[in-house]
Chain length 372, copies 4
């Protein structure tokens, strides 16, 4: 069979069922707008995967209460985040900060020698205004905010950073970068080897993204009083701190990990899938640092997520269930959305580290995820 | 409202709709077995996210043809993988190898001093048989295959590796490790600070996992003749090689990335979501190395994925759409499934690197992902 | 004995000889100016270590020929660099580029909460002129060129970069940073936890230094014609390229190394010790990327050293033998000195990779380092 | 001039003086055995660099007191280590542990395809006894202790680990590996691309070495009572702890550093140069983790150095001043020597972290290193 030859989702699915002698009835049961999804989001569409969606919260951030839609197949996750939300909310809420760094593309050029390399360097650093003009011809929602460059041998890497408003914007920045690159090539006759030279760095964990930030950088923090540590989390500040330093600091240092945290990936994957973010960005979103500090008998906790590629428009955010999940969050901007993600990550850290400090991790999983 | 107080998915969803004044009609439209999903996979369930599912393939691996279910909201991905599959299949198929390393848990103990530390070291290294016996009392599907340990200051980290057959097995190994840890504590009176000490390393990119491997390690390779490079991929061996070395090698080296590849995360996220794997494992699964080599006018390409946490039973694999997606793959074991993932990753690398070498990346996205 | 109680080098040495019943006659034989060395360079001085110094070269860089003083105890190193110099020089010389990034200090402050953190951020980013004025009161040779800052939890890290002219300048920047920090503390009443918060990053390999650069960033490149590859290096472009990609790219990627090169550390350690640089900076200086490229039958090779902490005045450069070694190099500025170091590193890479490509590494060491 | 054409050190030096019109009188003043040094340690020898040598100590380790020879040009270093030694010694001494991992060589082979790769894998893993026999024919002081291997694409990397008794042994293992590699090539007709494939990993910071260990792994720890913290170090347990966590943990995590410590490189460079170790190994030796813990009002501190390439025979250890410096240490084995290095590193950490906690770092450098 030629999977590409079918024009209807149902026909393609049926042909596949016949070819493989399988039943795809559930995959075929969906309410998404087929014509949109099959043309914009997914080629060779045969239906949809259904991922159970739960809700955690309310989570108090500043003065606003949020509910968190989490799409997951892993028992105990929603319960864990819920408990963290409760602890934060009862403690007076989390403080958060999100800074939009921007979406990046990092093309790589190949020069003939050091002199041509210098010429390219000068050109790139002196044409930011022009590059921005070019970018703006590709979309009314984009502007160039930063240009960084470095060179190794005959390769010059350039990292273009764009403001893409409330879109995650990777496609937009790809188009804009393509046009900028074409302009550079036409002016200097120096070829671009690759429009994306892993200097973006897209969908890989990298120190470059951690150090420069990518997408949105977000911080969240809370002070949890001793009473709530006891009542909600069944632990103490000192015990939770002891787990934190052993696991998130020394354990991660010894393991050569880029993630000095407990479980960012779990929370990010679940919110990303629910709300139509690109789940491949979990690869970069899971890096970052959690800190703890004992304040008398109370506990300070914080999260730092330097590399959150999120948006509230574009990509998968327009699909029916994803749009509804976004309406549960109710964030007005991608920045606010990133703040909620950071708050959710904070809830996840608090709850898991508390569990570990009380030796209840295995029990929680036994209770919620019996089938494995 | 108290989100936890509802017993029915519908009631909880309706209460949330009322509280937030939103419409969650699509989220509420699902065919998954609610009683199973809400008790085993997702607490506080309100419905399901629908992720468009497409199919790429056939992909020839050895003598067998596979179809790849890909759940994604990112236009161009399925088309890209399809093209890679076509190139591989027409080239005679990919060779693959998957080795089950096993699921790991890495508890951390805190000793009083170097002497107690040595005592713990000796105990841990001399009780593997006993630990295995303990593990086996927790499940008939688990066995302990390896114990590694290291120490920093007063902390001793132990990495237990288990064979969990065709399950990804993280919950199983958590229970087994809990019981082993309780035994150690009872014998030595040395407290375990945390059952999971980021020495696992679970759901974070880490060199420890890359070096030791985690879950399943997988390799795939193919030689693509010049004719197919031209006909299917519109490029040449040399041009694709040039992109590979600039991007996957030098670009990643300069960026401090753990991913020396083009887009493993895209493919892994899409297959993981479709087939009920834990998408948080994209955080570790996206690391690994792609290589290219020019053989006359033909091209050799390979992928190496050291850290694939996958299974064909347990977790989300039993849910209706996920089960159907697995039936599309038709892998009989988790090892075979990992081989298919490696083959799919190889297809993705070939297609994206070819696109970049021809400057068509932006065009492909323009065509398939117009809305952003 | 109290080693600190002696005022003369000879008395201290004699007391130690008596106490330990050892003979330190050679350590006591030195021509360095004892009063200077014992007061500025080395407390509790008992004499001097003698490190054999050899010379490699001439090395043609641009139009100028350099000789390289190398202090080493490792047989084969000087011979190896010499051979690389010969290949470069006969090929018409290396092109080099050195950019002074500056010496850095990275203090860390501890705030009470996110608001105080923002206040500190605003203050730091808006007082660069003032900070520079303060810096200039500590030395006539220093100026502040850059301020970078990031925050995790309650910690705010600031990276001050200074121009210290031809001095490596770490002590100068420590004094200047101390005074700036005191000013910040006095204005905001936010305590500095540590004047050096591993955000410098001093004397540790780090991605922050690689990405931002530290001290001087340097590049060197050369094209070696096939005839010289054959005559001087006994290899071909393709063979050397094959070693490079296997070792410096894929081997380093697989090993989680920050050094994508063959032997920068050897060359840097030897030049640093000879010329009075701080050899502890080998810890950061050994990172960086070597590239190779086949041009027909000729070979392009390059080195990139992002983190060279070097100077031609101050520190150990004023000591007698070190000063003489610097006179052999004849560099007029620290920038020129860094260029020579880069050229020397290039020579080392060429020679070692050539050796490896011909299987002669073991033989060279057998010949020159028989005693091990 | 042709620097290689001179047979006497003096003639070569004089020719260079004439050519460059410089005075190398101090370089020419040395007492090292010229015939040995110029034939075994340093080609093209012209004399020796004199590095001021100071002594710190006594340092109590277990029941034995050690003095530490430190060759350095950096004022304040010896004083700093001395203070740390005093604090440790008055606290009852450090506990240390050193484990000889062994010297490694990591050749890389290039296969034709996955099948040949498997054949090589099987051969390598099943011939350890034979490889050891081969190794032993190259030296009476060597034995093969471990073989590790991994593969990417067409490259198979093998890491041979050898016991080289009290020699650092890199040359020995190079010869042995060469012979083993020749055997493998002759049996399988699979070519070795490079005898050293950066899988050793020699003289580069790498996670592979940290995780597997290289040379000798060493640990040291001490508990410093509050009274000594106050009297000797002018600080408190809590203040020093605060610096440690901000700098060595969070600062290093944020900077992407492999060194979670304060100043290992300083101490290692100074001892290595004094005692004839290879100072290029500072590149790997400076990695590792320092920990602190508050015990009431006392302080626990530890160091972990996973990658110490040291020896007490061979290399530069036989040179006159180096031999004398080793006699100051008085270590009977390389293992004992590594223990002393760990103890010295611990002293350096304690002293510098104490200084930073009291804001006296700048003052110490002002006092001891005035000239910069």
């Amino acid at each position: 069979m030629n999977i590409r030859s079918y024009t209807s989702v149902a026909d393609r699915r049926k042909a596949l069922e016949k070819e493989l002698r399988v039943d795809l009835g559930h995959v075929g049961s969906f309410t998404l707008d087929e014509s949109v999804a099959s043309s914009r989001n997914c080629e060779n569409m045969i239906g949809a995967a259904q991922i159970p969606m739960g809700v955690a919260g309310p989570l108090l951030i500043g003065n606003k209460k949020y509910y968190l839609p989490l799409a997951t197949t892993e028992g105990a996750l929603v319960a864990s985040v819920s408990r963290g939300c409760k602890a934060i909310t009862e403690s007076g809420g989390a403080s958060v900060l999100a800074v939009r760094v921007g979406a990046t593309r990092g093309p790589v050029f190949k020069v003939k020698n050091m002199e041509e390399n210098s010429r390219l360097f000068e050109f790139v650093m002196s044409h930011k205004v022009k590059f921005n003009q070019i970018a703006k011809t590709t979309s009314g929602h984009i502007s160039l905010t930063n240009v960084e460059t470095n060179s190794v041998g005959l390769y010059r890497f350039v990292r273009f950073t764009f403001d893409t408003r409330d879109a995650m914007g990777l496609n937009m920045v790809t188009f804009a970068t393509q046009k900028i690159v074409t302009f550079i090539e036409s002016q200097l006759h120096i070829p671009c080897v690759s429009l994306a030279g892993n200097y973006d760095v897209d969908k890989k964990p990298s120190w470059l993204n951690i150090i420069y930030g990518r997408g949105t950088e977000a911080w969240a923090e809370v002070i949890i009083p001793a009473t709530i540590l006891q009542a909600v989390l069944k632990t103490t500040a000192q015990r939770l701190y002891d787990v934190w330093i052993a696991k998130c600091m020394i354990g991660s240092a010894l393991s050569g990990s880029m993630g000095f945290n407990a479980q960012y990936a779990n929370i990010i994957a679940a919110i990303f899938i629910a709300t139509g973010q690109d789940p491949a960005h979990v690869a970069e979103g899971s890096v970052g640092i959690t800190t703890a500090d004992v304040k008398g008998k109370d506990l300070y906790m914080s999260v730092y997520l330097p590399d959150l590629m999120v948006g509230t428009v574009g990509g998968g955010t327009g699909l029916a269930t994803q749009k509804e999940a976004l309406s549960i969050v109710g964030a007005k901007t991608s920045q606010e959305f990133a703040e909620v993600v950071a708050g959710a990550a904070l809830a996840g850290e608090i709850s898991l580290l508390a569990s570990l400090s009380e030796g209840t991790l295995a029990r929680a999983h036994e209770r919620y995820g019996r089938n494995r």
